[in-house]
Amino acid sequence: MIRLSEHLPIIQVLVPLFGAILTAFARRGTTAWAIAATASVLAPFVSAAMLWTVFETGRPISYVMGSWAAPWGIEYRVDLLNGFVLLLVSVIGVATISYARKSVAAEIDAHKQAWFYTMYLLCLTGLLGIAVTGDAFNAFVFLEVSSLATYVLIGLGRHRRALLAAYQYLIMGTIGATFYIIGVGLLYVVTGTLNFADLADRLGPAMDTQARPILAALAFMTVGICLKLALFPLHAWLPNAYAYAPSFATAFLAGTATKVAVYLLMRIFFSVFAIAIPASALPVTEVIVILSVAAMFIASFSAIFEENAKRMLAYSSVAQIGYITLGIGLANQLGLSASLIHVFNHALMKTALFFALGAIVYRTGLVNISQLSGIGRRMPLTIAAFVVAGLGIIGVPGTAGFISKWYLAMAAIDKGWWWMVFLIVASSLLAVVYVGKFIEVAYFREPGPDVAEAHEPPISMLLPLLALAFATVYFGIDTRLTTSVAEAAASALLGGAR
């Protein structure tokens, strides 16, 4: 009989994959939704089981595809870092799939709904696959699986600008993925291996004779992945993609896609290159720090002057990604912990914010902030959840966002960069402005004619929104799960333990 516990890493990918195949056979939206929901609900159990096993035993889980031994065959390798990312992605998947039914039914034509869920499940397959695999080329394939599904999800948006946004993302995303694969190719030419762990072992000796292709590979892979995770100034595709995608797709992508790219960047930097080559060989982390700070400020300013609420949150995402990459750029124990914690917290908060906006779109069809005056009195619970998550984005004590920014500030101090703390606080004040702008309109103005008919969204949409808002507060107070896992994963990354 099948022993499930041995096959967990592949089951993680197979569950959404077979879900996608089944939804492709389904002709009706509700059937497809039921299949997608089943697959999404199963996924976090698998990832939680793996994370628990790794946490308890302290050893990574290794699974070789088709019994071909590791450096030659494709190895799936789950350690604390990607166990954490897997859990995050699959949990966001559960929250969004509950939200999806009404939202998708309202925004997508009936005959396209089944395909829409197929694309969602393929995207989930790809994202989980990137996180679970220990093979550089396999990661590229999963990256493209998730990206192709993402382009379709965005292109199915109601407005015709969605097609343009999807096209631009397709061009940028493909360039990013191709840059990544050029880097992998150079590494393969030098070392003859694609396995992350094996690469780390072989790059060190190869560095003496063939430093140039290795450094070129590092540069190519960094740029490629930074395109996918929308690091400033490579973020141009993100605001339009998020603004014109269907609400459900925006919420799902904001919580998962960029986060998985961040994971891949960490894996490349710390599990492969940091072990093999001296940090001084190429000033990658310095560049990332500068760009992160630029993202924190410039994207926040863009968010302040943005009239479309979805674009405002999208620019906010670019700014928040700046905090995450800043932690990577600091490259110390606390910085990496801060990055991981913020990956988790930001996924919760931003998904909640896009849920709230999606609920507003569901009831009113409006996304322009000026038209939403007084919406807080018509949809009190929705806007309350928006405020809680918005406070988290600002980083108010008592919310999850505070924890990650606290860690980030500690990491900067640890490095001796006192001025960085001021920058972090200053950019948080910019978040006060754009979140405050929305709250001012929503609560302190008389309800306008546009929102007169609005009321709370259906319970299937409200529940995941409130759950994520609650999680924002919960992980701001009880930080045991996030900090313990993130700190352990950060030490493992920096210690070179694989």
Binding site: M1, I10, L14, F18, A20, I21, A24, G66, S67
Partner: protein, 139 residues
């Protein structure tokens, strides 16, 4: 091209050989150059040639659109499911050792199943793309 006799007769003569060649490439793929990917494209090329000469409606009669769209996920399902039986017998996913007594034969069978999934998906995807765009702009 209703009245182009040479094209019509020529297509009818060449079509069986195109399909036969596709089958040959497919079954040759497990132990030599070839395989489901190329075979699927050749098979689809046969259908598309037929559609170009005899019209879209005639092609839809021999390869109905609904069927083609069902075949796309079927092929993926065959491919993905080929790895499953091993998991029940102490093998890893995608280990084809389960399909035979010795390594070579088992893997030959495993690859053949995978190639079958590939030929179904590649063929149906190509034809589905052709159908999707062939009658755009005709109203």
């Amino acid at each position: 091209m209703k009245f182009d006799l040479i094209l019509r007769v020529g297509t009818k003569m060449i079509l069986p050989f195109i399909l036969l060649f596709a089958i040959y490439v497919h079954f040759h793929g497990d132990y030599g150059p070839g395989g489901g990917f190329q075979a699927g494209v050749i098979l689809a090329a046969g259908i598309i040639l037929y559609a170009m000469v005899f019209g879209l409606d005639a092609a839809r009669r021999i390869a109905p659109q609904g069927l083609v769209e069902l075949l796309v996920p079927t092929g993926v399902a065959v491919f993905a499911a080929a790895g499953l039986p091993g998991m029940f017998k102490d093998f890893r996913y995608l280990d084809y050792g389960v399909y035979g007594h010795d390594f070579l034969h088992a893997h030959e069978w495993g690859i053949l199943i995978v190639e079958t999934g590939v030929i179904i998906t590649v063929f149906s995807t190509m034809v589905a793309i052709f159908y999707a765009f062939a009658d755009r702009g005709r109203g």
